[in-house]
Symmetry: D2
């Protein structure tokens, strides 16, 4: 790599992040990747945890670094990983989230209907592959879990215990200040191994795996599914839905054409063409927040109310229960919203009152689960290896029901 290329990036979490090759350096410098600097990892979670302003850019570099360490550790244990595979897996993890749009999961199905961010990642990787003359071919195969000789490489990128999750748990804990998500990252990495081509965890690492699964579950309750985050997300989704409605009615909603395209047109699997992808790649959190700021002055009272509410943090309440929300409660909340905001019933239900389900599924065995390599060489699922009831319990999905309302 030439001297001029900056090879080291400070990371308060992992120390120094290194960029292992010139190709990877060039991908990092690419506008598609630089765009991730403007997409926060945790969307509106800074409403609750003001430190949580970290970006997908930083997470992608962190996940890259953990993956490099994991592969180096596997190599030291005698696992064969060629230079091409090494770089391929590195690129796959680096780009795994490249398809995220503004506010990631929150708006995933609001701006575009029915196209998963991972499919967008794949399309962007194909574009980059053309631009870099095929250098990403292995990376794409690994990303799509189609690198047959060595499935463990794909499992490092995506699975129940992958380097993506390892970085985001540690990073989200670090930036929120919620210690519940701290896991022994280095320890887990040092326990990884490969058996029959699959990624496994050596038996002595079983407690670290358990800790990892529980940490993830706790982070869901404390951060990802935090009431205030649910509330802010819901207002943001309402704002975008209202804006789309107004846009299709001919209202002027700013002059940033990449965003207007997604407001004025129904973009779904069919209409999400190459031009739309270009415009999508010009979007990030900034555009949404700037719109919210502008729309606070919009003449439509619903739009302006919702925007002011979000900006000045006057959020709705969230009622959470282990049982399904009763129709009575919804009716009551709708009534209140109609009065409070002077809106019709359907407007209340479309923009102010919302019901939904929070699911917390700490561990799934489908798709491979987490394999434990026992001392005798046999491999079994972690939920069967453990000596206690905890891991089995983690397989249960915990469901809660929420109702978003605006007080009594």
């Amino acid at each position: 790599m030439s001297q001029n290329k900056n090879k080291i990036i400070n990371d308060p979490l992992h120390g120094f992040l290194t960029i292992p090759s010139e190709l990877i350096y060039d991908v990092v410098q690419h506008p598609y990747f630089q765009r991730l600097r403007r997409i926060r990892q945790l969307g509106m979670s800074d409403w609750v945890y003001p430190g949580a302003t970290h970006t997908r850019f930083h997470h992608a570099l962190g996940a890259l670094n953990i993956t490099l360490k994991a592969m180096e550790s596997l190599r030291r244990k005698g696992v064969d990983i060629s230079e091409e595979e090494f770089e391929g897996a590195a690129l796959a993890i680096l780009l795994h989230d490249i398809g995220h749009g503004p506010f990631s999961h929150t708006l995933e199905h609001t701006l575009i209907q029915g196209v998963h961010h991972e499919d967008i990642s794949t399309r962007i990787m194909h574009r980059l592959n053309v631009e870099f003359k095929g250098a990403l071919t292995i990376a794409i195969r690994i990303f799509l879990d189609k690198y047959e000789p060595k499935p463990f490489l794909s499992q490092l990128i995506s699975g129940q215990l992958d380097m993506d999750r390892l970085d985001y748990l540690l990073r989200d804990s670090f930036y929120t200040g919620v210690s519940e998500g701290i896991v022994g990252g280095e320890r887990i990495i040092s326990m990884l191994n490969v058996a029959d081509g699959n990624l496994v965890v050596e038996q002595k690492g079983i407690y670290s795996v358990e800790k990892f699964l529980i940490a993830r579950r706790l982070m869901y309750w404390q951060v990802y599914l935090h009431k205030t985050v649910i509330a802010a997300d819901s207002v943001l989704v309402s704002i975008l839905r209202r804006a789309r409605m107004l846009a299709t009615q001919g209202h002027v909603l700013g002059n940033y054409h990449p965003l207007l395209h997604f407001l004025m047109n129904e973009i779904n699997e069919e209409t999400f063409d190459d031009e739309a992808l270009d415009l999508f790649l010009a979007l990030d959190d900034i555009d949404i927040m700037a719109s919210v700021k502008q729309w606070q002055f919009h003449t439509d009272p619903i739009l302006s109310t919702l925007c002011k509410r979000l900006l000045y943090r006057k959020l709705p309440k969230v009622f959470i229960s282990n049982m399904e929300t009763s129709p009575n409660l919804v009716a009551e909340a709708t009534e209140k919203a109609m009065q409070k905001f002077n809106v019709s019933e359907s407007e209340a239900l479309n923009y102010f009152v919302k019901t939904g389900i929070l699911e917390n599924h700490a561990y799934k065995t489908e798709g491979g689960g987490i394999r434990i390599l026992r001392k005798n060489g046999s491999v079994s699922d972690v939920a069967e290896s453990s000596d206690n009831y905890n891991l089995a319990a983690l397989k249960e999905t915990v469901k809660k029901y929420y109702l978003i309302h605006w007080g009594k």
Copy 2:
């Protein structure tokens, strides 16, 4: 404080931040203060340190917390601080940066001419004082260093060793990952005392003070005056200057009227009236970044070029020297810029080539300096108390000269 009011805020740096009173809670919730959530503490430094996305909101809360701890420690040493003074100093530190505009120091003299952010802070505090019916009167006097009975309260808020600096050094170190700025915050706080109404540091804290001053100096070189930050700042300033020029020529530059007001009018001490302050309070980093994103598509080639350069991180070079930049070098750089961007000489000098001075002044004795309380009860300046040449050396201003250019 009522149960509903959220009294504890997570801070990955200090642990938990507490809001000590209902009044302070209400100020924190005020839109003026919430706006700081959208102004980053370090502007464009995340170009170099991707973790540095922390906000003035978080810093203000952190500085509040350190100030509370310092006052509690002083009280334990027998220093008299009444409840009103305690709350006053808390509000003063909380609001010390409330007058910052988008990208803080970078655009401080671009959006508004000749009005210092501290004057804006004062105006905003007066507004809040009216709104809160005089409850900020003592806070304002402390902020303005006019609280005569107890100057140490003002010195806690602003001085050579104040709680603002303590928080920002620690916080900026934390989020950038640059360990050079780590100081013994708790230790310094525990060494503070009051003599003759002035804030002093007990003699045994002298090494911690020295460490503090050196840490600050190193943070200037490594973070605040980092080449890439200088380069990005300079491009951002050029963008705003170009935009203002185009705006005065009648070009359309978006439709967010609070920003347009500052682009289309010359706002200075005289024209910065109450209405302008209202509009100023509707501005933050978001508006600038959204404009840059939009202006990348502007028909003016200079504006669009500068915006693309910033967004895609294709920044100018920075040449730094201990000697003043020679006119020859400037001429050469101008020539290059004219060719590279196809612009006139005056355009090159206005928007692409820039010279300036970087000053790093670790310790100033003017305005009080840092007072050391010796064991015999006498008080002297820290630079005279120390047993070595280091602290005297820190009084020297280090000057460097920079030239921003676009390569050879």
Copy 3:
């Protein structure tokens, strides 16, 4: 407190530890308490985790500090704690481990038979109470859970979620470097409250409690019950048993009379008189390790072998199973030990081969359990409050069976 008394102690874990009163300072300075500087918190765990050299002295000060913070937090919530009670609880936690002997739990029943360290703590506290003219009366009542008006004070000191456990989990994690034990200490403290005189955790703290219980369980497996620690402990116990046997036969085993008293006499509840307590208070880890070093040159081959094994870290193997160790395995191991060390069967069974049970009981409801204060004001046990199967699972005791042997 007079100026000369050092009020602040550095703690890499909690920051600064403060000594809140002159009386507490004097207790800290007392030789009985200073003795804890020479008793490690984790005995021989530094064999596995070389950082784990921290002492009971440091833990006691750390637990004191957490308790002070908890009481300050409770007071802010309106819980009435008088100054005397505050100091009493502080002294109770400070002295809760004062009765520990050398190598704490490891040798607890080897040096003295049938006297629990908590009874010794009580006796020492009574002695101090005489010396300090009754100033520890409330502390003793709190320590013994006999402070009727306010049981929560005793529950802070000792219970399923007490400040002792909070400090040791955090401290042991910190010094071993095992992240599994990290818990949100500050968060838990901020969630504590009092209902009907009992310590409760507010409902929103339930995940932190779950994390706490799991962290404790994982620390048991990873640190407290680590194989190598079990092995080293077992050798140390054998050494002391052999030494006692030789001592009763008239062998010379050093010349430190406080230790000799416990080697040459059977000390139990009846014979543990005041003079024995004096001698006990002259014992710490140093005496045991110095004896082991000296006894490596002893003429008794069993004693010298065991000592050399321990010093040079040539430890036995530990076979762990979920099922009871079969008599066959024990017989085999005994045979091997007889050959390897040239000892009789009874010697092998007394000093080289050992079976035992490892119990890990994360959560017990007896004696109060952990009470959750629901938003509606009702109080219930945490294992019933949680929405998942995990906490119920934590009530199960996990038992493992071990066999200590010397290889094949």
Copy 4:
């Protein structure tokens, strides 16, 4: 390396420490190296900083790890280091402190006269080289700075900016909780390079070097030369001197013959033969502390007084001044000590009153200094490269004069 060999060691400071080869593993397991588990890194500093109980064992492993990382970084920059050299440098740093006796520097010239611990390290390395059949030959040459082809390897081990210092500054900061010593270790390592066979620091690392030097200077004042540490050290030295005096008079001073040998005989360069080395290798902190505990009951009043004073932390005062201690002050202190302890003048001067010099020399250019590699390829000394007066100031030795006395 065989499966059974434990390759990873937890370090709360650096994360995981790895043992890179089987030879190094075997050296680590050797009793000579395991002995370092019982020698604390900072002697009696835990009197002031209770967390500072870390050992030379842990430091040696930490320094090994930093050295490995530095060599890996150099290799990535194209510096040629063969496998033999890599292992050689690793062994050299691992064993650099192997010659330390009990309480390291404190007793260095009390137990043995005129033999520096580095000479003892060399002798032990030669012994190990015989035992390991010549495998340490390169390591010894590197340790002795006689590995001519590549002096940078020796400079990594020992110099003004070596991996030993890097580890101990970070480690001592970590365990004492004194943040003043925190340096950017990873950053410094990443800035190392080789020019003309010498270790150099790349220009952009100059601030990190400055921080390193200042951190070291501050750690001297705050930790290594802390008053209470000076006081405790002085009492310990007096105890050993008194014990030697008594031993030569025929008094019985315990029965641990390795220590008795050094008490009863004058061991110096001539008499420090192979047998003495064997006995030396059986000594560690334990033997000294056990003796102090035992000697508190000795019939010699001076010895018992000193021992009790140390154990119960009733230490002398330390008067520190920038000027030489006046004979009057010494006379006064002697008079006081004679009265207080009922001793003769010569006894007072031998065991109770002490004068001395504290020297803090942050940076020495002799022996190579720290070389900076400028961007133009030239190499110069760091004190000449820096743009400020600080580094020049750091070359000055700061001297202070102390008097140890027992109050007025």
